[in-house]
């Protein structure tokens, strides 16, 4: 008997397919803390976890797996996520870095799917651009709490988008616009945190996990190549957005098919690197020591190693 027996309807080879897959999670805050937990339970075998932040007291209202002890220990969010995975599936392959994803983006290039749990529009835009360049399906989650006129009233909403190569992108779907980027830039550095709460994150994360499963297993015949689910917590609905329907049949003008691959790639440099003796890297999943980090920087900076 396997721990995944009850999900055999996902497909005859689904256990193996999920075990072989590697999912990148960028931002391990409220949303992706749910995602990582569910993917571990599903039997996804490979994880790349990237977040430069530690857990703080105000994260405890929504960061699944986080504890008061973690807050006291100022534990990195990626370490908490890795612990959650390891508690379910000790055989999972985990690569994690407490770093901004842009600084360690190479780690994401080999992922089958990337799930973004990023707050900022600009960051979503950058991460989607990265995914398009390396032909990686990108699933974006976002949540907003907007005060309504009247005492103590709020509108809680959000969305989950599957952005596939050749399909509508976040710009096509008007989630990333120049106006929103400009407004975000003007707010940069203004004190105060955006309101966040656990249950919408959980719902959006479950929707995102459903898309991951659709991409990896054949449990649904003819699944859609792109998706945009809009969540309205006040109405209690998750529904396909008509913004996606309006883009049906229209090519994405923002990410042309020709703009894939590393524009700086040079196979001659690649061969030079292959011909060099292999450097000793820390084992996958092990937190890098300070000495290892310094050695890594020296290798990168001066090409020795």
């Amino acid at each position: 008997m396997s721990w995944l027996d009850r999900q055999s309807f996902l497909g005859a080879d689904s256990d193996a397919t999920l075990a072989w897959a590697t999912v990148g999670l960028v931002g391990l805050g409220g949303g992706n803390s749910h995602v990582v937990q569910q993917l571990a339970h599903l039997g996804v075998g490979g994880f790349v976890l990237l977040d430069d932040d530690i857990i703080t007291l105000t994260n405890l209202n929504r960061l699944v797996g986080g504890t008061l002890d973690d807050v006291k220990a100022e534990r990195a969010k990626v370490e908490i996520a890795a612990r959650v995975i390891g508690a379910v599936n000790p055989n999972a392959r985990i690569v994690m870095r407490k770093a901004k994803w842009q600084e360690v983006g190479d780690l994401l290039k080999g992922c089958d799917i990337i799930v973004g749990g990023l707050d900022h529009i600009g960051s979503k835009d950058e991460l989607e651009g990265f995914c398009r360049r390396f032909m990686i399906p990108y699933i974006d989650m976002g949540m907003d709490v907007t005060p309504l006129p009247g005492a103590g009233q709020s509108l809680v909403s959000g969305q989950v988008v599957l952005s596939m190569p050749g399909e509508p992108c976040l710009r096509c779907l008007q989630l990333v616009t120049d106006e929103r980027l400009k407004a975000e830039a003007q707010r940069y550095g203004v004190a105060g945190s955006r309101p966040q709460v656990v249950w919408p994150n959980g719902l959006l994360a479950s929707t995102a996990v459903g898309l991951v499963v659709q991409l990896l297993t054949p449990w649904m015949s003819d699944p859609p190549r792109s998706a945009y689910f809009a969540y309205d917590a006040n109405l209690g609905t998750v529904a396909p957005s008509d913004r996606l329907a309006r883009r049906h049949g229209k090519p994405c003008p923002h990410y042309p098919a020709k703009a894939v691959g590393d524009p700086m790639f040079d196979v001659r440099r690649y061969l030079e690197r292959l011909d060099q003796p292999a450097s000793v890297e820390p084992p996958v999943g092990a937190p890098a020591s300070r000495v290892a980090l310094v050695l890594g920087w020296v290798r990168k900076r001066f090409g020795r190693g």
Partner: protein, 171 residues
């Protein structure tokens, strides 16, 4: 080192259809993929950018081979990979099911065109793909004077994602 190739699922379907079109005298059709590349550390990633079929008039009569293409076809292919620099992959199909293999003629013809690809686009790898109706097989040259390496895995970017061959181990 392993080589991993990604292609949009709809493009792959279109290419299979295109290669199955009959020709006035050639027994099989040929085309060229252009691709980007990226260094993934332990893997080399090829990302297919587009497909250029060989035009009807660019085939030459040669009863000894399934398809012989002329210099105009090669010129058009290398032009498509010139700017931005792209990897060029010669592609044809053997039809049927299961992993196809290269014939001696396929491998001999690669000896003719691969050096030309490197002359035009020396900073990119170049290669050869053969498709069946549900699988594929590929070879990639990283340099003109080196033996080719196998393309270990082809991933169809679609819903669901599919791998057409390979060990299935991605991480």
């Amino acid at each position: 080192m392993t080589v991993h190739l990604k292609i949009d699922g709809r493009l792959l379907d279109d290419v299979r259809k295109d290669l199955h079109r009959p020709h006035a005298f050639a027994h099989e059709r040929v085309g060229f993929f252009t691709a980007g590349a990226a260094d993934l550390g332990d893997r080399l990633l090829l990302t297919i950018r587009g497909y250029t079929p060989v035009a009807d008039e660019d085939y030459e009569i040669d009863r000894k081979v399934g398809a012989k293409i002329g210099s105009a076809a090669m010129r058009k292919a290398v032009q498509s990979a010139y700017r931005p620099a792209a990897a060029l992959l010669h592609v044809h199909t053997h039809g049927g099911r299961g992993k196809p293999g290269f014939s001696r003629v396929d491998l001999n013809s690669a000896d003719d065109f691969v050096p030309g690809f490197f002359e035009t686009s020396p900073r990119m790898p170049h290669g050869l793909l053969v498709l069946s109706n549900d699988a594929a097989h590929g070879l990639l040259w990283l340099a003109n004077d080196r033996a080719p390496v196998a393309i270990d895995q082809l991933q169809r970017i679609d819903a669901p994602l599919q791998r057409e061959w390979g060990s299935h181990v991605l991480a």
